[in-house]
Amino acid sequence: MVLQTLTVMGSVHGYGIARRIEQVSGNGVLLNQGTIYASLVRLEQRGWISSNWGTSDNNRKAKYYSITAAGRRQLAADARYWERLKDVMERVLTMDKSAAGADA
């Protein structure tokens, strides 16, 4: 989610990412905004995102995160995985009784 956000929004600060995820998920994901920093440090240590200090629109100093090339590759891989999983789940969940009987 964080990676996708960064792909779409470019360079963003922690607060921005947290807000964005809340908005996009339609408040379906209610996260403690503080925990975003644990994920960020993890992603950064894996080399998927990079960070540097910058100034926000209203002139506040904040740390900006942006996705790296490795991060993009990872995102693509993860996206494929989720797509596949979604397909599989979809098929499993829409399976009707006759098909189930035939398979058994």
């Binding site: 403690n32 905004q33 503080g34 920093y37 993890r42 950064e44 240590q45 894996r46 506040r60 904040a62």
Partner: protein, 897 residues
């Protein structure tokens, strides 16, 4: 890949966690500010904006904690925290810390030192390359000493060429005596000890010269120029580490001898082959010179080919042995060595006999470590009681049980770590000291040093100790019910019974272990005293020996008679001069001293009776002068040799009681008395027994005295001369006057060592003494620790019962009654411990039975005296708190609580 990368980041983050924390703070602050800004933009009041922002972050502290957890190494963080806390608490309780660290240092130090000894003697290979290939080849032990443990040069040649199992076989001349080399520099000749080795000795062992070269076959040929290789120690001591020594020639034993090499410091002949002696120089043994006909003189050392097992080598030796001849010129001696050529691993030969002693020693220090752990457990429990509230509080605040145990284990690790560091230093000092105890007749002692293995062992036992002594109190404390602890630790509470019981069990086990140690030490001590009281057959006190040089060479002497006369004249004049010195009671010569070298010459037997040669035994031979028996303090029945027993007279001998008894029984002599009877001597002239002497312990103090036969120096050729003097003054006070007299008579007399006979005996028992002293000191340490443990427990329980005792005294109990009650409690614990310990000793005593001498492993006197000693110490350590209890002032006791 990314996982590795992450780990690196984590470690890096751990290292620079301070700046990272600061960065996080800034980031969180920015986050909060932006959230507030947003909320303000939505039209909320400043206070509400801030509250909602905080809510959406969901707790600053949790965010920080989660971040740190993801970022760095949390467990290391906790460890550092625990360490800091531990150091603070330990510093606050300095008395406890010092006592605990000292106890651990003693126990761990003893363990490391003993481990180093065990490692050197048992675990580590001998200090040669591929040492596992080296074998010692010798007959099974017999009754005729070194002569039956060695082989002839003909046998050597046959064995070497006839065996296929070996890369090569070598050996050395087994009959070299101390100070057999005199180095003539400017002043008085300097005595030194050299060993003759077969020329391939060093290649077989895999030892290379540090400077110069080792021997080549040419060095050992007939007519070869005399050469010598110096040991490293002698080169440094005598030749001041002369870097240009190789090639220089010195007068040794009257011949210009060239130094061809210097051995590395790592090679110590004595340490491996002759424990407790020092060897200064190595010379080549000419197998094809005179030694050819000397009979059994060389030992065999072989290096097996790679892949050849000991079993194969043994089978082959059994096949080769019957072909070996004692002397090729006497075909009837071929086959003499049947069943007498048995290869054993060199390592087993060197230190195999010590295995049991070392295992006992190791167990003793193990017991010490356990006692120390139990003691610390006890101390920690006492501390735990005082800290119960602290931990209950932490538990109540949410610390998990694991977290508290972890904190306590950190504490014990810090303690044992400090103890290990100190103990390691102690052990290093001890080991360095031991390595320089050249007089202790233990093999490889000089190669003793602290190495990586010892360091590893230190870590192992330190961790082991920490877990053992930290776990019980840790679990005990962390497992406690919070409510109960808070309540129990309150003032005025009576002792928690469960707590007391654990401590009592600990004390009992401590006493039991100490009891086992004491009994073991007591048995060894008793054995040692028995050994010291052995009737040696001679009086070692107030007697001393010095090696004397003489020249009995007579040119053109055909049968040795002339040189025998010359020798007799020399010795007679020396004895006359030395005997007249004030303080000298008696003096005489022998070629071999007891408890040193020996040899055998066959088995003289009554005429008409066939000697039991199949026994493969023979009396040990000593060639002595008149007066020697008196100088040694050995009683004679019959008469001593006299100067008139000359080369042309009747051949006379003396034999010892054991041999006389054996002959009399075997030959079924009617009256059993051999004095005055002739014995046949192979083909030679008859030997007339003129005296029967006491049995002398010639090989070892704690062994059985064997058979001995004495020849007069006036009739047989001695292989050297040791002047033995019996004095009315301490022997050392006569050293100068005797040596001066000897040098007046013969200017070539070296400044030889003046050896008190007592020293020979001490040397012979030094190995036993060494073990006894070590075990005894460990037992003492164990006793002290046990006493400390008892004291700790009793004094703690007295403190806890102050109120109770106060009430009882207020109700009329006398001071005596209170004292008695506390003392009885102490003795009860000690008694249980003693009973358990004694029981365990009885069961395990068989284990040390082989180390004892004339002492039963179930020696009642030892058990009883050790039990009494333990109870006395226990009583004493219980008396101090008992006394304190009796001085409790009821009003004060009831008031303070």
């Amino acid at each position: 890949m990314s996982r590795m990368r992450r780990l690196l980041h984590r470690v890096w983050a751990f290292v620079r966690r301070k700046p990272l924390d600061a960065e996080l703070e800034a980031e969180l602050a920015a986050h909060l500010q932006m959230a507030i800004d947003d909320n303000l933009a939505h039209g909320l009041s400043p206070a509400e904006a801030r509250r909602l922002a905080l809510v959406s972050i969901g707790g600053m502290e949790q965010a920080r904690y989660k971040h740190r957890e993801a970022r760095g190494m949390m467990s290391l963080d906790i460890l550092l925290q625990d360490l800091k806390y531990t150091l603070r608490t330990l510093m606050r309780d300095l008395g406890f810390t010092v006592v605990a660290v000292l106890i651990l240092a003693l126990a761990i130090g003893a363990n490391i030192a003993v481990f180093s000894v065990v490692n050197t003697l048992l675990l580590r290979p001998l200090p040669f390359p591929n040492a596992h290939e080296l074998v010692w080849i010798a007959p099974p032990p017999t009754k005729c000493g070194l002569s039956c443990a060695t082989y002839s040069t003909d046998a050597y040649d046959e064995f070497r060429t006839g065996s296929r199992s070996y890369q090569d076989v070598t050996g050395y001349f087994a009959f070299s005596s101390a100070d057999n080399l005199s180095l003539n520099m400017d002043d008085a000749p300097i005595p030194a000890t050299s060993i003759d080795v077969i020329q391939n000795f060093f290649p077989v062992l895999g030892v290379q010269a540090q400077m110069g070269r080792v021997f080549t076959p040419d060095d050992a040929r007939n007519g070869a120029a005399p050469v010598v290789i110096l040991t490293n120690a002698w080169w440094r001591r005598q030749f001041h580490s002369d870097p240009h020594i190789v090639g220089k020639a010195f007068d040794m034993n009257g011949r210009q001898t060239t130094v061809i090499g210097v051995l590395p410091a790592s090679f110590d002949f004595g340490a491996v082959f002759a424990p407790g002696t020092k060897v200064d120089a190595i010379t080549p043994l000419n197998l094809y010179g005179p030694p050819r006909d000397w009979g059994n003189i060389v030992t065999f050392i072989g290096r097996l080919k790679p892949g050849v097992t000991l079993g194969q080598a043994r089978a082959e030796a059994a096949r080769v042995a019957p072909r070996m001849c004692w002397n090729d010129k006497h075909p009837e001696t071929c086959g003499n060595y049947k069943d007498e050529v048995v290869p054993v691993a060199l390592k087993d030969y060197v230190s195999g006999k010590l295995r049991r002693s070392l295992v006992v020693l190791w167990s003793a220090v193990g017991a010490i470590l356990l006692i120390a752990c139990v003691n610390l457990s006890n101390l920690l429990l006492a501390r735990a009681a005082a800290r119960a509230k602290e931990f209950a509080m932490r538990g109540a605040l949410g610390a998990s049980r694991g977290r508290i145990v972890r904190q306590l284990l950190t504490e014990s690790l810090v303690l044992s770590g400090a103890g290990a560091v100190l103990g390691f230093m102690l052990a290093a000092v001890l080991v360095a000291w031991l390595a320089h105890q050249g007089a202790i007749a233990l093999p490889l002692l000089s190669t003793l040093h602290i190495d990586g293995a010892a360091l590893g062992w230190t870590v192992v036992i330190a961790v082991f100790a920490a877990v053992v002594f930290g776990l019980v109190p840790g679990l005990r404390m962390a497992g406690g019910n919070v409510y109960e602890s808070l309540k129990d630790a309150g003032p005025g509470a009576t002792a928690s019974r469960r707590h007391e019981r654990i401590r009592s069990v600990l004390v009992v086990s401590e006493v039991a272990l100490a009891c086992m140690l004491l009994v073991g030490a007591g048995l060894l001590l008793r054995s040692f005293i028995n050994v010291l009281n052995v009737d040696l057959g001679f009086q070692p006190d107030r007697a001393a020996a010095v090696k004397v040089e003489y020249d009995d060479n007579v040119p053109g002497d055909k049968n040795g008679d002339l040189s025998a006369q010359k020798r007799a004249a020399i010795f007679q004049s020396i004895l006359a001069r030395v005997g007249s010195l004030p303080g000298v009671e008696a003096a005489g010569f022998t070629d071999y001293l007891p408890l040193g070298q020996n040899r055998a010459w066959g088995m003289p037997f009554p005429k008409g009776v066939k000697a039991p040669y199949e026994l493969n035994a023979a009396p040990l031979v000593y060639v002595v002068s008149p007066g020697y028996m008196r100088a040694m303090g050995t009683a004679i029945r019959g008469r001593d040799f006299s100067w008139s027993d000359g080369p042309t007279g009747e051949q006379v001998i003396m034999i010892n009681k054991s041999y006389a008894r054996f002959i009399a029984e075997y030959a079924k002599l009617p009256d059993g008395d051999l004095v005055g009877k002739p014995l046949s001597n192979g083909g030679g002239p008859d030997l007339h027994v003129i005296g029967v002497v006491d049995d002398v312990h010639e090989e070892s103090v704690d062994g059985e005295a064997g058979w001995q036969i004495y020849y007069p120096m006036t009739q047989e050729t001695p292989s050297g001369a040791e002047l033995v003097v019996r004095t009315s003054l301490p022997p050392s006070s006569l050293a100068t006057s005797i040596l001066t007299t000897l040098r007046e008579l013969n200017p070539r007399q070296p400044m030889a060592e003046f050896k008190p006979i007592r020293l020979l005996v001490n040397h012979a028992v030094s190995g036993r003494q060494f073990f006894m002293l070590l075990v005894a000191s460990f037992a003492t340490l164990g006793l002290l620790l046990a006493a400390l443990g008892i004291y700790g427990v009793i004094s703690y329980s007295v403190t806890r019962q102050t109120q109770e005792i106060g009430i009882r005294m207020a109700l009329g109990a006398s001071a005596g009654q209170v004292q008695r009650q506390v003392l009885m409690g102490t003795l009860r614990l000690a008694l249980i411990g003693v009973v358990i310990g004694a029981g365990a000793s009885v069961m395990s005593a068989r284990f040390i039975a082989s180390l004892l001498y004339a002492t039963s492993p179930w020696d009642a006197a030892t058990y009883v005296s050790m039990a009494i000693a333990l109870l006395a110490v226990a009583g004493f350590s219980g008396y101090i708190p008992a006394f304190r209890a009796s001085r409790i002032n009821p009003t004060v006791a009831l008031h303070t609580n």
